[in-house]
Amino acid sequence: MVMPELSKKRKQSSLEKSQLGDEKKKVVSLKDVVGESDDLISSLPEDGVVDSDVSDDSSEDEDEPVDEDEFNEDSESEGDEDLNSEIDSDELEWESENEEEESSQESDGDPEKEDAVEIKSKNGIEKSKIGLRKEGVPGTSTQPPGEDEYAEGDTSDEEDIRNTVGNIPINWYDEFDHIGYDWDGRKILKPEHGDQLDEFLKKIEDPDFWRKVRNVQTGQDVVLSDKDINQIKRLESHKIPDEAFDDYAPWIEWFSSEVLEMPLRKFPEHKKSFLPSKDEMKKVSKYVHALKMGWMKTRKAMKAKEKKEKQKGPQFYLLWKTDDVADEMRRIENHIPAPKRPLPNHSESYNPPEEYLFNEQEMRKWNRERKSLGNKKLHFVPQKFNSLRQVPAYKRFIRERFMRCLDLYMCPRAIKMKLTIEPEELVPQLPSPADLQPFPTTASIYYKGHTDMVRSISVDPTGQFMASAADDGTVKFWEISTGRCLRTATFSGTARCVAWNPSSQMSLVAVAVDRKVYLVNPRIGCQDHIDQTDELLDKRPYQDKVTPPRVEAAVQWEYLSEGELHEQGVLIVLNHFKEVKQVQWHWKGDYVFSLMPDGENRSILIHQLSRGRSQTPFNRARGLVQAACFHPTKPYFLVATQRNVRIYDLVKQEMVKKLITSSKWISDITVHPGGDNLLIGTYDRKVLWFDLELSTKPYKTLSLHSQAVRSVAYHKRYPLFASVSDDMSLIISHGMVYNDLLQNALIVPLKRFSCHDKVNDFSLLNVTFHPQQPWVFTSGADGNIVLYT
């Protein structure tokens, strides 16, 4: 019973609300119902039986709505209430409460009702339940149109959904006592309808029978409301079923010429309307440029400017501006402004204070000096005037201005360029001495024993012993590592030079004492070599050539086999005709030269040990020979006279090169073991480094010493060289020679030592490196030899 009512309500609402297009469908569906009802109505007289049960039921329900709820709570199912039994008890509880409220408040008013409606709209089941509940009160089921429960907007056109059989011909269920299945799959039983008689009785008794229609889906009777009937009637008369619909409502012109805020047109504005115009842009940029350059001014700026000018009043400028700021001289580069004249002082004032005016004495003095050209204190006489008007023209104005112009013209001004180079910057960047290790750093051992100045020292080729020759006529042989004097050989005279034979197979030392050169076997070191040397130099080898008289007169060989000297180890004595200053071995150890500065053209003699003979390599004296040395790699011989060094090829017997030292007096010369570099010490305080490949002029001149340089030496293995000087100092320098011909030697002074005392203006006399270790020996006038390690 309820279901048709519900659907009817929905239909009502939908009819009321829905638009025209939708309504037709509704109408159709409604027509079905109406059609049926028509049938029913038409069939009423046929049936003629009225079912009293229904009205009984309805009256019962009407009387005891609460009871029924209780019934439901007990979840007992009887007859119509079967439907309720399918619903959860919880929901029922809730529903019952709601129902209570609903039933009690239905008449009260809207607010509560709205709640109920809200809940109902949540799902269909609830809706149906409410519908079910209402079946008991069919009389009240017709709600006023204003209280449409679907006022909130239920637009669904669904049919009754309690029966799930769907849209099928309902007569398929005619044979069964149910008309379909509910949501839980239980049968929905057909309601009792009674027979034709009941129908007829109903027809007779029920005044509303004519408006009752049966819902085929549920098989229940629905009472059509007045409105429904009205609607049906309107439909039958082909009118719009909604009574409220105004057929002649005023026309609203949606698409008008008026511009709307939200236009109804679908298409957007044309792209063109968004792009700036090129022409305009050009114009604008022109204006902007003009504004930037100041050619054009905005009105605003013009106004502001005018305003500003008005406010400022008259303009002033600094008259003497050029006094402070250099004039901008356009065409003169680096213009130098003329020097300013001094400002006038008090005495030049037209009204000077009294003390500036000349008194008589000053006046006389000024008159006296008037004619003289010398520096006058004032070149005018200060005068006093009462007012500036009375000041006469300055007589000397033209002249002085002319003189000033003459000064400026005759003495052109120039900017003095000042050198900003620091002296340190001129010194080449040298590596730090710490990076050039190893080199001697301390004086380690003092070899003490000589009583007079030690002129020469020489280290044996193995580096174990050292020989020293002193003015006291002794030659001492030292053990280097301990400073022990192992042997002393005494000679009569001044031992000027000592040279250890560089051959490792020989045990021989050449000592120059006055006019003699002694070849001494020191008898220390390897016994085999000592014996071998003794044997070798036992007697003079056979002379196949007659010694030229020139040589014979210069030197005589004397082989010793006994005597005091022989005891000391002397094997050969070479008697020279002049005092021998220097002896030095060729690196092979067979040749030794002796140098006699006074020997003129025979100042150098070369002695050959193996043949026991001598030769004079030079026929002509080229000057006072100061020093000489063999070349370490080539058959060259270097002779240093006072100013120059000549290099001779001994094989070709010709001069190879002449080095110009530009110094006054050479003291010592030594050749780098590589053979291409030369070190020369001079008495004029300089050490000269020659690169033989480079030029005949010094590659470097080292002015490290403050007094005459006595001796220079290269190390055989390490890139070191040393020089000693009369200023009591030994200077050790790093002298790296590169194999690369393009790279010049690197020379770095490393260390200065002063370990010797000054005796009779002499201090250090000789310097020698240890052959293997980076150690250096110096001998001094104080009789000491010092080893630096």
Binding site: Q437, P438, T441, S444, Q464, S481, I524, C526, D528, T789
Partner: protein, 414 residues
């Protein structure tokens, strides 16, 4: 450390390995400027609290592995140790200063010395070998060689006949037998083979071999046992005349003279040379096992079994300690620097692993603790000229010979 830090406090805790001196393990707060002296007072005070009868003991303190010689704060700062945490300071009884016992006068420079449990042998530049008792009584003077003696070493000291070897600049080594009771000495063997001055000898620990190094750059190993297994001494004694001995092995490798040598064990031998290298030789393989490069000439080398270090001394005034086994990392373990001139000799203490003595050409003998590389423990003064040799092979006696013709004996009373 600046003066404002002087007042800083730092936390220290004392530890010791000498149980008899142990003190409570509490941390103390001391000013960072504290020195050994204050710490010493502190420890003594603590020590007295526990043991009232105790005598005052001088202690040395080790912080960060090195003996404390400056302000504690400076000491720790230099080694980059945080002063925030508690610093553990080990203390140990200070090595008492050695006393000068004796001065044995020679006729010439004393170039070498070796000490046995009862006697001292010295080599002298006057070509003679001198025998002394450890009490300083001169027993014998042996005119042994024809050139200055450069090295001596005891071969055998047990029994009535002691033997020693002497090496000289006359290119020979001589093996001598000394009949202690009769006080007679006899040369049993003359070892010929070197062709230049022999500068160093070292006897193997088992006494069967000795090695000699020379200026001829050769290392020669000599056997003391005959092929028959009979000691050559006995054989020589039988024959009654000195025999000429030839080397068992000659090893070539050094580029300059061999200046010092020592045996690491019965097989391995370490030599040092003027060519700036230390070589370790395997005498069974007869080859050089390892080469340690330095940058100065070495003069002497000594090996310490206790801490497995080679001590070398060289021309640049430093004593350097090398680990012969390690090949990677820092080769020089410790550098002891205080001498002012060449260090001619070093000698490890025979019973104290951290102590060594060194003699230098600056006339000083110094006693070192290797945990204190900057400051020696004691300077043993007395020599008036270059110190040529030192020896500490028998514990209480530190002997040193020098160019002042004396052999000085110090007693380290430990």
């Amino acid at each position: 450390m600046t003066s404002d830090n002087q007042s800083d406090q730092l936390q220290i805790r004392f530890v010791t390995k000498q149980e008899k001196y142990s003190v409570p393990d509490n941390p103390f707060a001391v000013p960072s400027s504290v020195t050994t002296k204050e710490l010493n007072d502190l420890v003594n005070q603590l020590f007295h609290e526990g043991n009232a009868a105790a005598k005052k003991v001088e202690f040395d303190f080790i912080a960060a592995g090195e003996l404390l010689r400056a302000h504690l704060g400076d000491h720790l700062n230099k080694r980059g140790i945080s002063l925030e945490s508690v610093v553990e300071i080990e203390y140990l009884e200070r090595h008492p200063p050695p006393e000068a016992l004796d001065c044995l006068i020679h006729d010439d420079w004393v170039s070498s010395v070796d000490v046995s449990d009862f006697a001292i042998v010295t080599g002298c530049y006057d070509t003679s070998v001198h025998l002394w008792t450890t009490q300083g009584v001169h027993k014998l003077s042996v005119p042994a060689h024809t050139s200055p003696i450069k090295a001596v070493a005891w071969l055998k000291t047990d029994g009535p006949v002691a033997s020693f070897v002497s090496a000289s600049q006359d290119q020979t080594c001589m093996i001598w037998e000394w009949d202690v009771d009769e006080n007679t000495v006899r040369c049993t063997d003359v070892c010929k083979g070197h062709i230049r001055s022999v500068d160093s000898v070292a006897v193997a620990p088992d006494g069967n071999r000795f090695a000699s190094g020379s200026w001829d750059k050769m290392l020669k190993i000599w056997s003391l046992i005959d092929d028959d297994g009979e000691s050559e001494h006995k054989k020589a004694r039988k024959s009654g005349i000195s025999q000429t001995k030839t080397p068992q092995v000659t090893l070539k490798g050094h580029k300059e003279c061999i200046s010092g040598m020592c045996w690491i064990d019965n097989v391995e031998l370490a030599t040092c040379s003027w060519d700036h290298t230390v070589r370790i030789w395997d005498t069974e393989m007869n080859s050089s096992v390892r080469e340690i490069g330095g940058n100065k000439s070495f003069f002497n080398i000594q090996f310490s079994k206790a801490n497995n270090l080679l001590a070398t001394c060289s021309a640049d005034r430093h004593i350097r300690l090398y680990d012969p086994r390690s090949t990677e990392g820092q080769i020089v373990k410790v550098t002891l620097t205080s001498h002012k001139n060449w260090v001619s000799s070093v000698s490890w203490s025979s019973d104290r692993e951290n102590l060594l003595v060194s003699g230098s050409y600056d006339n000083a003998v110094k006693l070192w603790d290797i945990r204190s590389p900057q400051v020696p423990l004691y300077d043993l003064n007395g020599h008036e000229d270059k110190v040529m040799c030192t020896n500490w092979s028998h514990s209480p006696l530190i002997v040193s010979g020098g160019a002042d013709n004396t052999l000085r004996i110090f007693k380290s009373s430990f």
